[in-house]
Symmetry: C2
Subunit: 151 residues, 2 copies
């Protein structure tokens, strides 16, 4: 991992379709070398894949929630509960955190019923959950998880 790799990653995190041609002029090195480096980054799993970003609102995913969850302590409770939360349909983010809460969970649904059925009812019926407080997102001001390199 050197400066050149970093430049490649910086470009590809913004645009996966950026061509070898353009990268090669940008980096002042032959296409084949760029290709070689990208392949390397892929095989090292630094580049984990390429995906299309779909607009959630286009699919009517307007009911977005973020929950703070406190668990009931027991052996391995955080591993058990963590995977249980991660497997709830609609949930895309589960973070185990320090502080007065244990897990922070982010999920997207199409409407209130969808949310109630898939999410709330499950969470509230999990014996490992001691307490949860859920925030409804009014507006997504920023959501760009792909922008890993910001410096």
């Amino acid at each position: 991992m050197d400066e050149i790799d970093l430049k490649i990653l910086k470009i590809l995190q913004k645009d996966a379709k950026y061509s070898l041609e353009d990268l090669s002029t940008e980096l002042k090195m032959p296409k084949s070398t760029v290709a070689y480096r990208i392949k390397r980054l892929e095989s090292l799993n630094i580049i984990k894949g390429y995906y299309a970003q779909i607009d959630p609102t286009a699919l009517n995913l307007d009911y977005i929630v973020i929950s703070l969850i406190r668990g009931k302590y027991s052996k391995d409770y955080h591993i058990e509960l963590g995977s249980k939360l991660a497997n709830i349909p609609g949930v895309w983010g589960v973070y185990f955190v320090l502080g007065d809460t244990d897990f922070i969970v982010i999920a997207r649904y199409r409407n209130r019923e969808d949310f109630m059925k898939n999410y709330l009812e499950r969470i509230t019926s999990m014996p490992e959950v001691e307490r949860s407080s859920t925030h409804v997102v009014v507006k997504i001001i920023k959501e760009s998880p792909n922008m890993v390199i910001w410096w």
Copy 2:
């Protein structure tokens, strides 16, 4: 937007490099038709772009934080504060929410100093911020914001 579009999106949200060839066999329709549909989804901004997924830990982005922020009320305070938060280097998610907190912010840094300098000092010196509580992420159990279609 029909069932076929949804199938295309379901595949591309996981793998942007899935070829027209394979999509055409999968969907039992010619390449050119698939290409036509994808172009349509792009121009309608349902597909917002294609990104490389970079492993944050490969770049030593191990200091991940989630903050709950309460603002001081004033005219347009949430628009002002929202964009201020979104512009902090390292911040990739800003959500305006209902409940006892106003904003939820997610950010990634390489270490404690990086976090202190770029994030904490800024947040605590913003006059629009009344109160903030920041949780350090111990473990990312799930993070797949690109998986928009889960049903």
